[in-house]
């Protein structure tokens, strides 16, 4: 059977109705005329022939109706009729229509807004070739805890031992670059990537080429690949740019390629320019992030297993740096999910789905209420011969029409919601999100909107319709009173709604509660330093003249002197790896006078090279001993300061001051502990505190300067001052990033904060909807039982008896709802553990307090209908009867 023919027929009937009717008339008239002619020809007089033709042809109207039906038009006609009727019904009770449609539009709109996020962040496949083979590789400690970045030498060793497991492994770092184009030098975020990077992702440049393997070697000519955005906005969109030279960090650099529009790896951030990653054989400095492509058919666990054995070999060969290190592999998709908001988006998606179900339940409740008052209408219709199926269809159409009107209105809410979410994302982290954080309501989203409107409309429109459909004609028509005490089926439905709404609201509230608790914990846990008024600026010291560590120290000292002279600066110092900067380095060590552990079991500590006054500037408390001073020089006694975690691990009951630590290559370097400071947070807000060793900058050779400035002045002034200071000392050096500590922390915490806000908003909404729903059902139930209450009062029941009677009903239903909701929440909250900040997904206090809150609100919602029941005037109610 041809579907096309059917669609054509229905389409013609629906949209070219006039023509179809005209054709039909024409055709039938033609037939009658022909027949008449034939009859005349056979000898009948015209008049008689006409009469006979018409008589034999049969009655026209029923015939035409039959023809329309044969073309499948009856359904359509009835639909139009039902829609007209639905429109009239809604217009006749505008209050009901307004509340129902507004509630639904809000629910559907919220869903659409969140879906547009999920659509971009979760559903769209990553825009690389075979993205499922891509994995992120991290360094981890022996317990499998995430440490982070990898050294260039380790990465090279991994690459050399790819085996049959990895197609390729690429590393990257994202330094700031100074682009000198025109008069104004501009800071842009660049990335140093392994030469195979673009090929591995399977994305070819739009113009020119990617990097050649030899371009990663030392001494190779400087080349770069530009992003589409940089090309359009800063480089004049000139197709002939490829092969030309621009000034990057003061050195001529040849542009060899332009990437296509939108090319972006969320883990990298908003990178504008890629350059080859220079190789280094320094294993100490872990600053590279890495991704790899697995060979087809290799699973994540087997790849992890394989790379762990490689890491073990490296640990055996280089125990001084690698002893404590192993690797951690995650699918790129999951990695982006953790960093890039997919997990958060999905959680919010389910929360908002619950909110929609709540909104729908409330509307269903209203519809049932109306349906009961229309029972008589239905009964009369049935009595005079309407088919029950037809009636059901009409009620369903009415409900669906309401949902579809709401869907249209919801698009407005959705647009607003998407804008709100987009604006809530701090600009600094947009570059780390899929699609660079760009959100919009597209066709897929709109299709989704109408799909959920239809689905929920069917689901929640069907129950009330069936309820109405089951009307017992005899009883309803016989009954004289204008109010029946509602059929038992109706009561059951309404009781179910209370249970359902309570359970749903509980799930949403518990989820939001857990997120909020995490936020509170995140903001209240001890940082170990004072972030207020702290500004951080990083300066990677580049150039061959600083290979001599003394020259580098001179530079740092000179810059620090300049910065200290800036107005408003209370304290300033520098280190190498500031908390919350995302950079860190580890070193293995041993304690003098203790048995030397085998290389693979040597403990490790984080290490930081600091200037005198660093702890004071950061607000890190001194526990014992002294700070570094200007007297701690390259040629004086090597000294170190340790944190309390280091003390707890190595000298639990001893004075660490005066102890000697061996660390670094072959643990050949030594330092005497001269002081102890408090622990600091900083490794991505983990509350686990790692042992840490601080060395005086002058006794180490770090080429990385991270200024920390404590100030009361505006951060913009300080930023300009710091830039100026660096340029005065050496105008070839660039400041990489200047941010307040608060900004750095906000960046790291943004995902938690946004989800917390959104979830709280929906939690309040669902609490409100649930309260409204419970109130509605109870109010209706009280109204339906007016006579009963009147009689009870007349027979001597006290008002408060009735109050407790009504409230007891509410309590029973709410308690069942709470029990179901608790079980459901217990089951589903564990799915959101990846986005909870150090809160167990089954955190008992949250579950208890949320239940108490919801219970209290439910009782409150029952109280008003209960009080109304107690104030019924028996005489009036009974006289009414």
């Amino acid at each position: 059977m041809s579907i096309a023919a059917r669609i054509r027929c229905i389409f013609e009937g629906a949209f070219r109705r006039k023509r179809m009717e005209h054709d039909m008339d024409e055709e039938l008239r033609f037939h009658v005329a022909k027949y008449t002619e034939d009859l005349i020809r056979s000898g009948l007089p015209r008049e008689q022939a006409e009469r006979r033709a018409r008589a034999e042809f049969g009655s026209l109207q029923p015939l035409k109706e039959e023809c329309r039906e044969a073309r499948g038009l009856r359904l359509w006609d009835e639909l139009i009729q039902d829609l007209r009727y639905a429109g009239r019904m809604l217009r006749s009770s505008p209050g009901f229509a307004l509340i129902a449609i507004f509630t639904l539009a809000l629910g559907i709109g919220a869903n659409t807004a969140v879906f547009s996020v999920v659509n971009v962040w979760v559903l769209k496949p990553l825009p690389y070739a075979n993205p499922d083979q891509l994995v992120a590789i991290w360094s981890a400690d022996k317990e499998g805890r995430w440490i982070g970045t990898t050294s260039s030498a380790d990465l090279e060793d991994w690459r050399k031992q790819k085996g049959d497991v990895f197609e390729d492994i690429c590393g990257w770092a994202t330094p700031a670059l100074t682009l000198q184009q025109g008069d104004e030098p501009e800071q842009i975020i660049g990335a140093r990537v392994s030469a195979e990077f673009f090929r591995m992702l399977g994305v070819a440049p739009q113009l020119g080429r990617g990097f050649l393997p030899q371009e990663g070697q030392a001494g190779a000519p400087r080349v770069a690949v530009a992003s589409h955005e940089l090309w359009i906005n800063r480089l004049g969109a000139d197709p002939a740019l490829v092969g030309k030279t621009i000034q990057i960090d003061g050195e001529p650099t040849t542009i060899v390629g332009i990437m296509p529009e939108g090319f972006h790896l969320p883990l990298m951030g908003p990178v504008k320019l890629w350059m080859p990653l220079p190789l280094s054989n320094d294993r100490r400095l872990g600053y590279l992030r890495s991704i790899a492509r697995l060979k087809p058919g290799v699973s994540l666990p087997s790849a992890t297993q394989y790379l762990k054995t490689v890491a073990q070999r490296l640990a055996d060969a280089h125990p001084e740096t690698n002893a404590a290190r192993t690797v951690l592999l995650r699918l790129l998709r999951d990695e982006i999910g953790r960093d890039g908001g997919s997990d958060q988006a999905l959680t919010v998606f389910w929360l908002v789905a619950c909110v929609l179900l709540l909104a729908c339940s409330n509307v269903a409740n209203l519809v049932v209420g109306r349906a009961v008052s229309r029972q008589k209408e239905m009964a009369v219709r049935l009595a005079i011969g309407a088919g029950r199926g037809r009636l059901l269809r009409q009620l369903l159409t009415e409900n669906l029409a309401m949902f579809l009107v709401a869907a249209v209105l919801s698009v407005g809410f959705a647009l607003w919601g998407v804008r709100w979410i987009a604006n809530a994302i701090p600009p600094e982290i947009r570059g780390f999100l899929p699609n660079s954080g760009v959100l919009r309501v597209d066709t897929t989203t709109l299709l989704y909107t109408f799909a959920i409107a239809l689905l929920t409309g069917l689901l929640f429109g069907l129950a009330p319709a069936i309820h109405c459909w089951r009307v017992d004609v005899n009883n309803v028509i016989k009954e004289n009173s204008s109010r029946q005490s509602g059929s038992s089926a109706g009561n059951r439905l309404k009781s179910c709604l209370i249970v359902f709404e309570t359970a749903l609201a509980l799930v949403v509230l518990v989820a939001a509660g857990l997120l909020a608790k995490g936020l509170v914990k995140m903001y209240s846990h001890a940082l170990g330093f004072n972030p207020n008024g702290l500004i951080s600026a990083s300066v990677p010291i580049s150039g061959s003249r600083y290979i001599d560590p003394d020259r580098a120290e001179e530079f740092k000292g000179a810059v620090l002197q300049q910065v200290l002279r800036l107005p408003g600066v209370q304290a300033a110092a520098f280190d190498s790896y500031t908390p919350y900067s995302g950079n860190n380095s580890t070193v293995s060590y041993r304690i003098e006078g203790r048995p030397v552990p085998p290389a693979s079991e040597r403990p490790f500590a984080f290490i930081d090279m600091v200037s005198p006054g660093y702890f004071a500037a950061m607000g890190i408390p001194f526990i014992r001993g002294r700070d570094f001073s200007a007297q701690d020089r390259a040629d004086s006694l090597p000294v170190a300061i340790v944190n309390q975690a280091m003390v707890r691990r190595n000298w639990p009951n001893q004075d660490p001051v005066g102890q000697i630590i061996h660390y670094g290559a072959e643990t050949k370097r030594t330092a005497t502990v001269v002081g102890v400071v408090g622990d600091t947070a900083g490794l991505d807000d983990l509350d686990y505190r790692y042992p840490e060793i601080f060395l005086p900058s002058r006794q180490s050779d770090s080429r990385y300067m991270a200024l920390v400035v404590r100030t009361s002045a505006a951060s913009a002034n300080i930023a300009a001052g710091v830039r100026h200071a660096v340029h005065t000392v050496d105008n070839a050096q660039a400041v990489q990033r200047i941010q307040t500590m608060q900004e750095m922390m906000r960046e790291r915490r943004a995902a938690y904060v946004i989800v917390g806000q959104v979830a709280s908003f929906f939690a309040v909404l669902s609490l409100f909807l649930a309260a409204l729903g419970i109130y509605g059902v109870m109010a209706y139930s009280v109204a339906a039982r007016r006579q009963e209450f009147g009689i009870r009062l007349a027979l001597g029941a006290a008002g408060r008896n009735l109050i407790s009677l009504v409230i007891r009903q509410g309590v029973i239903l709410t308690t069942i709802g709470l029990a179901i909701g608790l079980a459901a929440a217990f089951g589903v909250t564990r799915l959101m553990s990846s986005i909870l900040y150090q809160v167990s997904p089954t955190d008992a206090p949250t579950f208890v307090w949320i239940s108490v809150l919801l219970f209290a609100v439910a009782i409150f919602a029952c109280y008003f209908p209960a009080r109304r029941a107690s104030r019924i005037e028996p005489t009036r109610v009974l006289r009414y009867e």
């Binding site: 023919a5 009655s59 023809c67």
Partner: protein, 113 residues
């Protein structure tokens, strides 16, 4: 006037398909053709033809186009679609099988003992 033969369910469809498989025809023509081919044995209620035609069109077995009739009047001409042709073949086979079966039953002779 000849008394109308009751047609078996679905037979009318078969007759219509067969008639227009010979050449495209308008409704009245189909009626005449069926009467003519059956030597007047099959009479079809004039009006009942049209719902059947519309149903066949809805199923995609026939298609209608407006054309000029013998004396220059506009008439709707029906013709078979490819699918209609297949359906005609199928229904003809069904019919033949059915009638052969019925004939077989009716021709049964009482068994001689």
């Amino acid at each position: 006037m000849a008394k109308q033969q009751d047609l078996l369910q679905g037979t009318l469809d078969l007759l219509i398909l067969k008639s227009i498989s010979l050449e495209p025809m308008h409704g009245y023509g189909i009626l005449l053709r069926i009467q003519q081919l059956s030597d007047g044995r099959l009479q079809i209620q004039q009006g009942s033809l049209y719902p059947a035609l519309y149903r066949l069109e809805y199923r995609g077995w026939i298609k209608a186009d407006w054309g000029e009739s013998e004396n220059n009047r506009k008439a709707k001409y029906y013709r078979l679609t490819t699918e209609g042709r297949r359906q005609l073949k199928l229904e003809t086979e069904n019919w033949n099988r059915l009638s052969a079966g019925v004939v077989g039953v009716l021709n049964a002779q009482p068994e001689k003992s």
